[in-house]
């Protein structure tokens, strides 16, 4: 009993610390195992983050880089020789519609980002088209005059219409820009919208985009601007009516104003002035 007691006591007094020691060892081993698992988890985690970072940087970098390197000219460019009147007249090219032999020519100096031009383009221009151009009474010519100081997308918009002209969709695109003026005008970058409109009017998107993201037609638009300055165009839209050797600038940019100017020119011609 005593032995048993001592034995038990011995067993208990010696065994308990051993058991406790084994417990500590097990606990430390578990901790080390968890730490190893934790380290393994962290390695996997860093790998996953690395893959996400590489894919993300690649995708965003490609998107931004490919578009940044194809810089779209959105400001007037220096065109040599425009000080010479003959060169200026040769370089500045309005886009025409209607009979070249029509007795009258209606000239617009316009800016695609100007609300007044948008209103003229969507309300008066269809009347000009229907009642004057299609009847052979007048030819209509549009000259770009982007007011780049106040309209940051205007020069690019003018170039965009010229890119559309390359695909024989100038007038469709011209109307499309005016129709959606309130939308693209407020965007930070209008390039995406311009490409979308090109596809909407039936142009091939890639060809249009590559034209837009270049400096193509920047010289023509710049020359048109210079012509406008030479003619002292004060604002946009500026509408002029030419016929019988006379040129009149409209004060009232309405269809009625155009009819009145044409009548005045005819009357002056009849009177021999």
């Amino acid at each position: 009993m005593t032995a048993a007691f001592f034995g038990a006591a011995c067993t208990n007094t010696i065994g308990a610390p051993l058991a406790a020691h084994r417990g500590v060892n097990v606990s430390r081993a578990e901790d080390r195992k968890k730490a190893r698992e934790g380290g393994s988890d962290m390695t996997k985690f860093y790998l996953i983050l690395g893959v996400i970072a590489v894919v993300g940087i690649g995708a965003v970098g490609y998107s931004v880089g490919s578009n940044t390197f194809g810089t779209a000219a959105s400001e007037p460019v220096e065109v040599p020789g425009l000080d010479d009147q003959a060169t200026l007249v040769a370089m500045a090219q309005g886009v025409k519609k209607g009979d070249e032999d029509a007795p009258f020519t209606i000239i617009e100096f316009g800016d695609y980002q100007c609300p007044g031009c948008g209103e003229f383009g969507l309300s008066v221009e269809p009347q000009i088209d229907l009642l004057l151009v299609q009847t052979g009474r007048a030819q209509f010519i549009y000259y770009d005059f982007p007011l780049t100081q106040v309209h940051p997308h205007a020069f690019l918009a003018a170039r965009a219409t010229r890119c559309a002209q390359d695909g024989d969709k100038y007038w469709e695109y011209h109307t499309m820009l005016f129709r959606n003026q309130s939308s693209w005008s407020v965007q930070q970058s209008a390039i995406g919208a311009f490409v979308g409109y090109a596809e909407d009017v039936g142009l091939e998107g890639d060809a249009f985009e590559s034209c837009l993201k270049s400096d193509e037609h920047a010289d023509v638009v710049s020359a048109n601007m210079r012509l406008g300055y030479e003619l002292a165009v004060p604002s946009t839209p500026t509408i002029m009516v030419q016929g019988f050797g006379q040129l009149r600038r409209l004060r009232n940019n309405s269809y009625q104003g155009i009819e009145e100017a044409m009548a005045a020119i005819e009357a002056a011609a009849a009177a021999g002035n």
Partner: protein, 152 residues
């Protein structure tokens, strides 16, 4: 318990970090376009141009994409800090993650409502972002037991 728990990094914070990193690139892509750096936006589904050109694309002068970018960066930094040894049981980080994820989810829900009911157009990147922040919020819910129970 504390030391045993901190031996392994909290899985939910690792998930939040990974999702936030994806969100950073989505927001960065939109922000680059807002700055005019991205050219035409690739938008396979929906009408990104309509959404991005709407008045709701900005909060005052700040593009929504910039707000998203800052939010995702904050979530990434917090979750990354929260998986480092010594901070794995941090209730402060847990609380901030939960609050940030909740705020982001509410803001994103508002933007989704605007797309559906006001603008009537969808931007796929906004939808992706909404899904990401919702998943982040669910992952952040795992912080609740940590905030409630682990007071040692």
């Amino acid at each position: 318990m504390g030391s045993a728990a901190s031996a392994t990094p909290p899985m939910n914070r690792m998930v939040i970090a990974a999702l936030a990193l994806v969100g950073i690139f989505v927001a960065l892509y939109l922000f680059a376009h807002n700055l005019g750096l991205g050219g035409p936006m690739v938008c396979g589904v929906g009408d990104c141009a309509a959404v991005q050109s709407s008045i709701y694309a900005k909060v005052g002068p700040v593009p929504v994409s910039a707000i998203g970018l800052v939010g995702y960066i904050a979530l990434l930094v917090l979750s990354f800090m929260g998986i480092q040894p010594g901070r794995r049981d941090s209730r402060a980080i847990g609380g901030l993650l939960l609050a940030g994820a909740f705020g982001g989810t509410v803001f994103s829900a508002y933007l989704t409502y605007l797309e559906a009911a006001v603008i009537h157009a969808w931007c796929q990147y906004c939808v992706i972002s909404a899904i990401l922040i919702t998943l982040i919020f669910f992952a952040a819910l795992a912080e609740v037991p940590r905030l409630r129970g682990n007071r040692s």
